[in-house]
Amino acid sequence: MEITVDGRKTKVAGASDVADLLVKLKLNSEETLVKVNGRLAPNGAKISPMDDVKVMRVIFGG
């Protein structure tokens, strides 16, 4: 499925929920928020290739 990470499109295969997706992307769930179809989604939210999934890294130095 095609998703967006920090505004860049990327492809990930076989992710069934948000937690699984972050593991596949090797991203720390503590540092990210995920939007599914425009709304924030918890780690257990199911995702499918039809969904619009956006991953945002929200913890950084400023």
């Binding site: 920090d6 720390n28 769930s29 503590e30 540092e31 928020l33 179809n37 425009g38 709304r39 924030l40 989604a41 918890p42 780690n43 257990g44 939210a45 199911k46 995702i47 499918s48 969904d51 945002m56 890294r57 929200v58 913890i59 950084f60 130095g61 400023g62």
Partner: protein, 325 residues
Amino acid sequence: MAKIHADSSRCTKCGKPAAISLRYANSELCQSHFTKMFEARVKRTVRVHRMLRKGDRVAVGLSGGKDSCVMLHMLYEISKSLPIELFAITIDEGIKGYRNHTLEVAKYECKKLGVPLKIVNFHDEFGQTLDALLKERGTSLSCSFCGVMRRYALNKLAREGGADKIAIGHNSDDIAQTVFMNFMRNEPERLGRFGPKAGVVDDEAFVKRIKPLFLTPERDVAAYAMMNGIEIDFMECPYARHAFRQYVREMLNKAEEKYPGTKLRIVKAFMEQQNLMRDGVRARNSAKDRKIGKCVSCGEPSSREICSLCMLLERYPAKKEEYAI
């Protein structure tokens, strides 16, 4: 309308579709319950630590990043029931391609809430931008210079603006990192001075600093901003990668992922021990008869003969020409 899967996670409070997982609290919350929990926690932190009093004039340190913007909104919310006067101070360090974005966010958020904003820059205050200063002195101490200079300018401007308090947007992640960094550097005195209300010694030259987000995780701050239409700029400071803090941040986030709640437990453990540390610092200061005086070089308040900024500038001089305040 956004599609929600029927088998998605549910809010621990009401059973509606959840918007966020809070692993540190072993719960999942919908947008409404998360917002209520978030606001109640910040208000409780302010109340329990007696950060604000009726009639206070509060200078809000507003970088334009998510933490300070959310803090500004929360203080504005609090000002509806507790009469306090807010004004914001934004310090433009002069970091090309970074600060100009967050400055626009700061202006936008202040305009939205009707909070007066004062923007000052390092060039006017110190005669040089941070970029120029680091070009001469190297980037390895970028955060040391920037942090000390920002604190210096913020205290001076808040004092000149008649502020009773300076509100700083440090979240609980920042606090856990600072606690860890001070342990790793063996700096107990710094830790003794640190807290939700900073400072051990009262002196009119130092405006009291309060941290309303002291017990609020950074990820929660980002989620609250997104849920409540507060502008977020996702840019990272270009100097952050040079910082010791970055190493500690990554280390603690790895620990948090494996052992949820680690960062908040560090903050709470620190709070438990802080009174003892403060007593120790007070006793040591009193033994040495240390008082807040004025820096012999620049005249700003300092507990030593020379303040931290002048000491840094003296220890790491510019390679070409002298730099004066």
